[in-house]
Symmetry: C2
């Protein structure tokens, strides 16, 4: 398999299936492979997962953004999730064989096309940000569609990286960026006591001085009557699922609880599984080409 | 990827590279993919790993056996490893999407072709054995080439499953069978004291009442000045590398030692890595199609 890029555009439509279907069809026609589509009615937002070679994914992302701009009017959009554009945020993520630099370059190419061809202002964020102030998506999206509409031509700090210095009247503005793969990983405790899960989450999350590259919440899952630590591992190379689980197991024991089960939410890169297995088995290095299947699929040497 | 079969024929030539190259070329021409070739000069034996769809692997195996019969004369063969044929033993192993029944059927088809077309007596062994007495390869190969030559027409217990009831004058006899994938897994201790490794190996190996489907030896590795537990996991679904490592870690601690590192020898099936990661993370079920790469490679639905 050659270098694979993932792109996960978020669109400001999570209720009208027909609109989302049209956006997905546009994405698929670009040549990238649509792996997943999630609609969230409360957020009134959908998330499409596209993967494939760089140029195909770029074309799919562009076509999906164009279709969203045709079909979604931000003036009519309401939902719980903050948003500023029809295509609200478009991150590129490096998968097998791809680098972050590849993804930054794709973000720049896509941003330029959206600005030039669709007349939508584009802000580069995450690893593609050109200033530290734009690394964090929440800062870029501050004020949302309505606030940005006022600020964009006046406040020099809100000048877009590509496209016009005014908001698109219906499609708003789009954040395009690059980031590492985000693993959603949940761990269940053998207790319904959510206070234990909250204490554990508070001590492992990076923002309170816990494990690096970990975001965590303590939740009560009514369907199981169990407390859960719900995590986003924003760089599993820094804190792996195995390391997070070990920390949780130790802290749970201090509270007289223990872990019953874990789960990933969504798709997982093979690399994360290889690293987990290698870490668990204390193997110094485990490369993809130690797998029989990798050898079978390799082109003849 | 459709169902994949592995075949690991062992040939009685480990010194003459040209002979082995010719056997490998014959295997490759059959349509299976040659993943690995190992020559052992002391054993005067080579091991070829072929993989691919069933029919291609069958054809590759047959052609390699035929070439070995052309080029190797058992009357001139000497080496430390017991052997009875030019192609000494040919196991089929189920990989992704394949079953043991598939492999037993392949062993029967290959055995019949070797017997009918090459005039070499064939004994089915392992999961393909037709009697319990032939499950164990060592029993099938008892007396080796020279002993079997005397016994084969006289002792009804040595009647081959396919082919003539006499040894092939130069190519001997061949054992053809089916078995599960064998994982070679080594664990290093933070001590040079081989007696600790030997004690641990003795308590974990199945033959002394330890872990099921585990063979283990305690060794001293001079290059590292470390004791090692060297294992064959003959069915990682029964005892996984993670389970073996955990048992070793606990026993090492009782001797005041600990594990520094592990390693696989040779190629590893992806399924074994997925199972290891799932077990370590306490994930109930982790299927291949939870991997992004599996979705990317899947045919369009």
């Amino acid at each position: 398999m050659s270098a694979v890029i993932e792109c996960v555009p978020n669109f400001s439509e999570g209720r009208d299936r027909k609109v989302v279907d049209a956006i997905v069809a546009a994405a698929a026609a670009g040549g990238g492979k649509v792996l997943d589509v999630e609609l969230d009615a409360n957020h009134n937002r959908s998330v499409v997962t596209i993967a494939g070679p760089a140029d195909a994914v770029l074309e799919s992302a562009f076509r999906s953004v164009r279709k969203a701009a045709d079909l979604i009017d931000l003036n009519l959009h309401h939902g719980e999730h903050p948003r500023m554009g029809a295509a609200d945020v478009v991150p590129f993520v490096p998968l097998a064989g791809a680098s972050m630099a590849d993804c930054v370059s794709l973000a720049e190419r896509l941003g330029k096309r959206i600005g030039d061809e669709l007349g939508i202002p584009v802000f580069l964020y995450g690893e593609a940000a050109r200033t530290p102030a734009r690394r964090n998506l929440a800062d870029v999206r501050k004020g949302q569609f309505e606030g940005l509409r006022e600020a964009i031509g006046r406040d020099p700090a809100r000048k877009p990286d590509f496209g016009p210095e005014r908001i698109h009247p219906t499609a708003g503005a789009t954040a395009v960026g690059a980031r590492f793969f985000l693993l959603a990983f949940n761990v269940y405790l053998d207790t319904p006591d959510v206070s234990i899960a909250k204490k554990i989450a508070a001590s492992i999350r990076e923002s309170s001085g816990g494990l690096k590259a970990v975001r965590a919440l303590g939740l009560y899952m009514a369907d199981r009557n169990q407390a859960q630590i719900s995590m986003n591992l924003v760089d599993y190379r820094i804190t792996s699922p195995a390391a997070a689980l070990e920390a949780i197991s130790m802290m749970a024991a201090e509270h007289g609880a223990s872990v019953t089960e874990s789960e990933f939410v969504g798709l997982v890169p093979r690399d994360a599984i290889l690293k987990t297995a290698a870490e668990s088995l204390r193997i110094k290095e485990f490369r993809e080409d130690c797998l029989i299947e990798t050898r079978i699929e390799a082109p003849p040497s």
